[in-house]
Amino acid sequence: MQIFSISDVTSYIKHVLDRDRTLNSIYVRGEISNFKRHYSGHCYFTLKDSDATIKVVMFRSRSQLLKYAPRDGMKVVVGGKITVFERDGQYQLYADHMVPEGVGELSLAYEQLKEKLAAEGLFDELHKKPLPFMPRAVGIITSPTGAAIRDIITVAKRRHPGISLVLFPVQVQGIEAPGQIADAIRAFNDYGQVDVMIVGRGGGSLEELWAFNDEKVVRAIAASTIPVVSAIGHETDFTLSDFVADRRSATPSQAAEIVVPDIYELGRYIRTLQDLIATHMQAIVKDKRQMVLQYRQSAALQRPMDLLTDKQQQVDSFLQRLCQVMEQQITAKQHNFSIQAEKLAMLNPLAVLARGYSITRTKDGQIVSDSSQILNDQEIEIFLAKGALCARVCSTKEA
C-alpha cells in the first residue's frame, strides 16, 4: 500500500484536473453570491444554482475589464478554467470573463452608471445652463475626419456665415476616446474663447457610442462652465452624455441648428418688427386724428354762434340788471347830495365874503390867517366876493 503526502495527493488531483480539456476552458452559468472585491482588485465570490455552489476567483487583470459592477444575486455566465488551489485543497473556477445573463454587458454597465449619476443629481434640470443666443465662437469636440464635423460646419455656415468655429479634434471611439473627450471639454473651459460647445459624433452602434457613456466624459460635461450641447447620432437610446448635457440633439447637424442662430431668419424677423412698429405708429396717428375729427364735429365747434348768442343774452341780462342797480344808486346819491348841498350852502365862505370879508392866500395856496406868516414884499392873493387882488406886502404888523 502506497502512502502519499498531502502535497503529493493534491498535486496529483490538480494534475488530473488540469489535463481535463473540459475543465480547462469552461463556461458556467449561475448566480453570484458572497461577492467580495479585495483591495488588491481581485474578486472572490461563489457561483450557485439551486443544488450546488462553486468558488470563483477573478483576478484584477480580468476584473478591471468589466464595464459593470458585479453584485450578489446577479445571474451571470463565467468563462475560465477550473483547477485546484493547493493550499486550501479546494477546486476553484478562475474566471477570465463574466457576462451578465439576459441583458448585455454594456447595457448593464449603462444602467448602473446612469443610476449612480442620477442619484448624485448630475442629470437634474437645475444644473442645465441656458445656451447663448448669439455665440461669438462655437467649440466642437469630435473627430476631425468624421461626417459630424462636416455636417456641423455646413449647417453652421449656412445659418451664419460669419460664425467662428473651433474644433478640438479627438478620437470618438476606442480606448483613448473617453479621456480625450473629457480633456477636450476641460481644455475649452481653460481656453475660454468659446461660448458654447458641441460634443458628439455621427451615428453608430452602442459599442461605437460607448465613449459618450463613460463616466469621465459625463463628469467633464457636468463640470463644464460653458454650456454643452450633445450631438450623438443615435436612433433609439440616449447616451449618458445626452442626459448630462445642457441640451441634447439627435444629430450633429441638429446641434449646429440649436447652437448657431439663423441670421437670415433673424433678419426677416427684425424686418417684421420694423413693419409692426410702423403699422402700430400709423394706427396710433390715425386714432388720434379720429379723436380730433370727433371733437371738431361736436356741437360747440360746429355751431359756435349758438354758444355766442347764448353768452350774449346772458351778458345783456346782466347789463340790464347793472343799469337798474346803477340808476337806483344814482338817484339815492343825488338825493343825499342835495341835502348835503343845502348844508354846504349855509357854510359857504362866499356868503361871508359878500359881507365884505376877504380871503388872503400866499402864492403857494396857503391861507393867511397870521401876519407872521408873511414877509415884507411877499406877493399874496386876496380873494373878494367878486374877483381877486394880487398884492405885495409893504409891511406887516404883529397882532
Binding site: F133, M134, A137, G139, P144, R150, I153, T154, K157, R158, H160, P161, G162, I163, S164, L165, V166, L167, F168, P169, D183, A187, F188, D190, Y191, I263, L266, G267, I270, R271, L273, Q274, L276, I277, A278, H280, M281, A283, I284, V285, D287, K288
Partner: protein, 90 residues
C-alpha cells in the same frame, strides 16, 4: 409704466448686444401695440424702435468671414491652426 422705463435709456447706442437690442425692440412693438402712450411718447418710442432695428440688422450683417480654427493642447499650451477643409459644398 415699467415696460416703458426699461427701454427708456436706449437712444441708439451701438454697444448693446444683439439680444438686448432685439428684446428692447420687441418691447417697443408691444408698447406701441397697446397704444396707451401719448402721441409724443409714441413717436419717441417709434424712433427708438427704428434705431434698434437698424442696430439689430447691422449686427447681423457679416462684416468679415471669421477664420475657423483647430485647437490643440500641446504641453499645456493651446496651439491654434486654421481649419481648412470647410467649404466644398456649403
Amino acid at each position: 409704466m415699467a415696460m416703458a422705463d426699461k427701454i427708456n435709456h436706449t437712444n441708439g447706442n451701438n454697444d448693446v448686444c444683439f439680444e438686448e437690442a432685439l428684446g428692447k425692440l420687441e418691447l417697443i412693438v408691444k408698447l406701441l401695440e397697446k397704444g396707451e402712450l401719448k402721441l409724443e411718447d409714441s413717436l419717441d418710442k417709434f424712433a427708438q424702435g427704428v434705431a434698434l432695428s437698424q442696430i439689430c440688422l447691422a449686427k447681423l450683417t457679416v462684416a468679415e468671414k471669421k477664420i475657423d480654427k483647430i485647437l490643440q493642447k500641446e504641453q499645456g499650451i493651446f496651439v491654434e491652426k486654421p481649419l481648412l477643409f470647410t467649404e466644398e459644398n456649403s
